[in-house]
Point group: C2
Chain length 234, copies 2
DNA sequence: TCAAAAGTGTTTGGGCTACACCCATGG
DNA sequence: CCATGGGTGTAGCCCAAACACTTTTGA
């Protein structure tokens, strides 16, 4: 027996892929390779396969484009307006991804004509992808205000200065350097390395890496790197 | 032209319907009326119709059961394991609903053999509905810690005592009465009525109602009725 | 007049902000 | 020896938690 008479629809996953180049937030987009809207800028997406969960689909699609596995992915609310895809009804479950932009560049796939755009200079996208990007950004801001997920955007070793810039860019705000440093270090999530970055200053700034164990244990914990939340989010 | 060769699947919306009877959290469940798993306890659900958005589907399904419109609904992450529904592949987009239990009782529909269960005594549900309930509860706790959504569960006029109990039950914790009152009133979201509830005390407690305008303007604002968040959520 | 709940006041301490200051080093 | 960014110290303020206290009224 089946659910006879009930309509079936396509289900897709879309990836909103964020990166940080040390200076600015970026978004990885592709040139759509099939109709409708062929050759226009689009999020990387794919249809859910018969024996695949949503999360697995998102991982697959992301890997297809970037070659990366084990990337941070988080589902955001589904988009299901009846005519969002003019070809055929398709419900999309979007995921935002946080990738270390350097790792990606190492294994770039040319198949999709992918390009990193400054988040602030995102081109006009197909369907409702603009709205998806906007929602993903809102969610990222929200989540990152409470949880330490932004480390996913940085290389394995990084300076406090990089982390500081990352937060300032995301929230389009300035945060006191001293207070920021103290808050971050007080979490105990970071381990100071012996090596210093000497490129950006005479004195040199220590590199840090994540204490992976503490990081995973505190993933759901509430941190507070951001002052005056209500002014900064929304 | 169509997306030929791509599989189509059923998409359903599920409603996790929360209520509060003044003393405890409750969950509205139905006896499933069709195969598979007929006659077992289930969330209220329905398949998405051809010209219906996800949100509209959730509203429709909720109205079908309760007769209520304009209820607070919030989408939570979709469930898409390939075999979550043994009959045919179905991806479910769950919504949690906050209803004033009194309004509902006025227009109960007997068609679904619906019953309110204590949240703490939820029976075993079909498919992955147990997981949905769990996720909805987690989300509700999270959201309510920052945003003033719990008023949706109360009648139009209510006492601070009721509100206080509501928060204590949701977080399975006690909160200092004085501090709680001060925090709530300091938001300016409540208007004190002249009438008092004389049933629960000799002195009588003032009824309050929402200042609807301020409420809607502050819906996304960050409040903080809950002390020591990290101990209480998670 | 007493019990019981409503509602108000007051002290205290921790933590956050703002800002000043020292440190290290290459030129 | 100075400019530059890295990093630390600290005073003050605000706010929340804890808890004591007053108010009201039915029995």
């Amino acid at each position: 027996m089946k659910y006879s008479g009930q309509t079936r629809v396509h289900v897709a996953v879309d990836c909103i892929i964020f990166g940080f180049d040390g200076e600015n937030f970026k978004l990885l987009l592709i040139k759509r390779g099939f109709e409708p809207e062929m050759h226009r800028w689009s999020l990387m997406e794919g249809f859910i396969q018969p024996d695949e969960s949503l999360g697995a689909g998102a991982q697959r699609v992301l890997k297809q484009l970037t070659g990366l596995e084990g990337v941070y992915l988080e589902q955001i609310p589904a988009f299901g307006e009846p005519n969002r895809d003019p070809m055929e009804r398709t419900i999309s479950v979007p995921y935002f991804a946080l990738v270390d932009i350097q790792k990606y560049e190492a294994q770039l796939s040319f198949d999709y004509q992918a390009e990193w755009f400054l988040l602030s200079e995102t081109p006009n996208l197909i369907f409702d992808h603009n709205a998806m990007v906007k929602m993903a950004k809102t969610r990222l801001r929200y989540k990152a205000a409470f949880h330490p997920i932004l480390f996913e955007l940085l290389p394995d070793k990084f300076t406090l200065q990089q982390l500081h810039t990352l937060y300032e860019k995301l929230y389009e705000n300035t945060f006191d350097k001293g207070n920021f440093t103290r808050k971050v270090l007080s979490t105990g999530l970071l381990v100071r390395l012996k090596e210093k970055d000497k490129e950006h200053s005479r004195k040199g700034a220590f590199y840090f890496k994540l204490d992976r164990e503490k990081y995973h244990n505190n993933f759901e914990a509430f941190l507070n790197f951001i002052p005056s939340l209500d002014k900064v989010i929304g």
